[in-house]
Each structure stands twice: as C-alpha cells, then as structure tokens.
Amino acid sequence: MNRSNENVLSVCGISKSFGGIRAVDDVSFDVQRGEILGLIGPNGSGKSTLFDCVLGQLFPDSGEVFVNGNIVTRKRPCDLNKLGVGRTFQMLQVFSEMTVLENIILAGQEHRGTLVSRLFGQSDAGLTEQADEIIAFFRLTHLRDHRAGSLSYGQQKLLDTAMAFMAGPRLVMLDEPAGGVNLTMLESLKERLIAFNEERAATFVVIEHNMEFVMSLCTRILVLANGAIIAEGTPEEIRNDPVVIEAYLGE
C-alpha cells in the first residue's frame, strides 16, 4: 500500500461491528492532497461509522489509519484535530448557547499556544480577526453576535461546517454538509468548499446523499454498501455503474 506523503489520508482494512452487524467491512482507500473525495451509499451502509473509526470517535475492530503517513489509529479526536483534521458530524452540532463568533473562536483556540498561555493570554486567543474572516467566508457576518441556537437550521449547518475550517485544517471530513441546507445556500456552500480547496489547498472527504451536489463537487467518488466499498471512480463512471444503481435500487 502506498503511504507516501502525497496521501493525506490512508485507510487500511478498517472493520467495525456492532453486535452482529458488520457496519464497516474491511475498507481501504487513500486520499491524495488537494482531492475532493465523495463517499456515498444507501442509508445504513456504514459511511458515518467509517468516519468515526477514522477520526478516533470509535475504535475500529481492526485496520489502521494514517494521516500524512503517520499512524493515528486509536488517537483521540482532539489529537487528530491538532494534526490538522477538521470534521463535522451528521447530526448538527454547534454550541447553541455561544454566539457565532464564540463558536468559531472555540474551533481555533486549542491550536494557539499552550494550555498555560491560553489561560494567561487574550480571551479570544488573538483569533477575532481570523474568526471574522471565516465568518465572512461563509457569509454569516450579519449573524456574528447572535446566539448559535437562534439561527435557522441551514445557518447552523453552515456554522458547523465553518467551525471545521477554523483551525486551517489540511484535511476536512464532512458528514452530509448539504442536509437541510436550501438550494441557494447549497450553491454557495459548494462554491465555498471549492474555493477553500483551491485557495488553501485543503483536502476533503464528503459524505452526501444529494447526488447532484456530490457529482458536481467531487473529483472522485467511493460507493459504500453494507460496509464495503463496491465501486470507485469519477462522478461520470459512478453515475453509469450498474453495480451502484443496483445497490441503491435493489435491496
């Protein structure tokens, strides 16, 4: 298996079972620098579980994960984040009692200084300017000082995604970023992800059910069914692959 430094992420033979269910079944794949990889598959095919195994949220039963060539299997989520891996969860997860600005600052502060310097330093860890930039990037500036809980679902979803970008990650893994986001916002979300990818050389892995969104965003797509990869290719190839069509239609 090629674990050269060009691979931002390498997943090698990850398996995870819940009781009798084999949610992820011996999955291996690589993600190259600058790539936008799509991960699709029917409900319950193990996409979110695979994410959690990769990101330390769950321990895989077997297999290894490498980030930039370094082994990170069983590292804690916070350690992975410090290595430059940002993520979102499928379920919306913002800090609803904090303002938008505080949410974004929180997402970056742990990358600044040490535990001690964070106690004695500035209360925003010197991040307000950078946070405002990210907030503007996701066009949330007018909501900057609003409580996150008071935002609409779609706005919160954008904020959630924005948080994953705050620490300047090299790899971002998004679980259904388009879920619940309206069409206009969806277009601008896509636009922004592509801009981030081009301007800041961020690499993405995106789980998504919205086919149009995935097909137009991603450069390569993996298809998962019953925990295993059944197809891989460009959006064009995936669209016409009979195996994929069957996985989605037949049960």
Partner: protein, 321 residues
C-alpha cells in the same frame, strides 16, 4: 452596558465596605460567612455551572481546607501557609475525584461524588488522633497581618472580603479566558468539543480541581471564622446547600453563586420572625423560583431586562391592524 456593570460593581463594593460599621457583631459574622460560602459556591459553579460536571462533594473540600488550616495553625504555622496548602491539597484531590467523571456523567457522577463526601466525612469523624473526631478542633488563633489582628469581627470581615474579591477576580479571569470557553463547550457538547481539539479529559479534570481548590480556600477561611470545626459542618447537607446556592443564584452565571449564597445565608435570618414557618416558606420560595426560572435569580433578572427591552418594539408590532 459595560459601564453599568462597572459602576454597579463599585457601588456594591462600596456598600460592602461601609456595611460592617453599621452592623452588630453577629451581622458582621453573617456577612463573613456569606463571603466564605460564596467562595465555595463560586468554585462549584465552575465545576457544575460552566463545565457541566455534577458534584455533590464541595463540602468535603470545604472540610479538607478547614481541617488542614486548623491543624497547621494549631501547630504554629502561619495562616497563609495553611491557606496555600489547603488550595494545593484540594486541587490534587479534586483532580483525582475528576477521574470518575471521565467515565460517568449526570446522576451517576452525583452518586460518585456523594460517596466521596461521605468518605471524607467518615475520616473527619473517625480519625480522632488527627481530627479530634466528633469533638472537633478548636483553640487555633485567628490570623494577623502586618500587626492587624483579625480577632476583631470587623477586621476578619475585611480580611474575608479581600480574599473573596481576589478569588472572584481570578475566577472571572479564568472563565473569560479560552479556558472558560472550553469549559462551556465541555458542558454543551463534549463530543463536538473533542473534535475541535478541546482536550476534554484535561478540561474535565481541571474543572474539578479548580472547583475543589476554591472549596479548600473557602474552608481555610471558614475555620478561623467559626473558630471551632467539627465533622458536622461538612456533611452532605452542606454540599446540598452549596449546590442550592449555585442553582438558586443562577448556575453558569458568574455572580449566580454569590447571590445564591446571600439568599441562603440571609433568608433564615430575615425569616426568623416567622419562627416555625421558616423552613416551609424557604422551601416553597425555592420550589417556585426553580419551577418558573430554572436559570435562577440571575436568569430571572436577565429575563426581566430582556422583557423590558423588548416591550417598545413588541407594542409597535401589536398596533398593526
């Protein structure tokens, strides 16, 4: 708004400075007691209100601080040594007590900490050679600084006030620093916080340790204030009372526990004229408050300010045909 806060704080501080000169000894004693309980409740507020970790063990730390200070002062050590050591010991013990919180939460954690409180109380009661058992400890002098003896009630009051203000400022600094934000994130959504790089294990332990250290420092003041300590003062009852202070005042609000402590300490005095009815009135008030405003007195205040602000625009809206 900021200016109002500063002016209000200064006004309260001025009041606290002139108040003792208009009160009898007992009144001053009650005010000092308020300061001491406020410190312990502020610590619990950090653990529970900000970081969301349930603890029913704050009285144990109050006790550890009180016994440590009393024993050291009886042995002739200066108060400040006892004070520092109390904070240090409680910080370490709090750190250890934080470990169960890494595995269990909410009511399970409540029971773990409750068990710890019972354990510490048993040590105070049974280890007579050290703690004097049920007879308690007495005969330790009040501290004196720069030639000012705090045997005098007013002097001790100002001494408590100074330490209270100092510890309040430090806590304020902590909660407004990135640490405070990390604590709040830990309370609101530990899983998301973890994925954003917040070391939730470390922050959980720190929340317990700092809260415990505040409990210890409060205990360190408690001992010379009451001049006699026994295990009775550090039972589960006291932990529940400190919890009540935090909840009634407004958990997760900076001044909540201070207001709560004021109420819990003063209300029994104010309601003394009702004699037997006191506990009934008290319990009813607490129930009504918490049923209608779970965010406590500070929450009630915030809500009324918000309602007052909203009224003009609200009435304009209703004028529409």
């Amino acid at each position: 708004m900021r200016l109002i806060t500063i002016i209000a704080s200064l006004a309260v501080l001025a009041l606290l400075v002139v108040l003792p000169f208009n009160l009898k000894n007992y009144g001053i004693y009650i005010l000092s007691l308020w300061m001491v309980y406020s410190i312990a409740a502020m610590g619990l507020n950090l653990t529970l209100g900000y970081a969301g970790q349930v603890s029913l063990a704050q009285a144990a730390f109050l006790g550890i601080g009180a016994y440590t200070t009393a024993l050291l002062m009886k042995a002739g050590y200066p108060f400040l040594f006892g004070f520092g050591l109390s904070a240090g010991i409680c910080f370490c013990v709090g750190l250890i007590l934080g470990y169960p919180a890494l595995r269990v939460q909410h009511h399970f954690l409540a029971f773990v900490t409750l068990g710890f409180n019972a354990l510490v109380w048993l040590v105070f009661r049974n280890e007579e050679w050290l703690t004097g058992g049920t007879y308690g400890l007495m005969g330790f002098p009040r501290p004196s600084f720069f030639g000012i003896d705090t045997t005098n009630q007013v002097a001790f009051y100002f001494f408590s006030l100074t330490i209270f203000v100092l510890l309040a400022v430090i806590l304020w600094w902590i909660v407004r620093s990135p640490w405070g934000r990390a604590f709040q994130a830990l309370r609101e959504n530990p899983i998301r916080a973890n994925s954003l790089g917040v070391d939730i294990r470390r922050m959980t332990l720190l929340a317990f340790a700092i809260g415990a250290a505040y409990g210890g420092m409060a205990g360190s003041l408690f001992a010379p204030l009451v001049e006699f300590i026994d295990p009775q003062s550090f039972q589960l009852n006291t932990s529940l009372m400190l919890l009540l202070m935090v909840i009634v005042g407004g958990s997760g609000r900076f001044l909540g526990p201070v207001i709560g402590a004021l109420l819990v300490v003063l209300l029994p005095e104010w309601l003394r004229f009702t004699e037997g009815m006191y506990l009934i009135i008290y319990a009813s008030l607490v129930m009504v408050l918490l049923a209608f405003c779970p965010s406590g007195l500070i929450g009630l205040y915030e809500r009324s300010v918000a309602a007052l602000r909203a009224r003009p625009s609200g009435s304009r809206g209703s004028e529409k045909p």
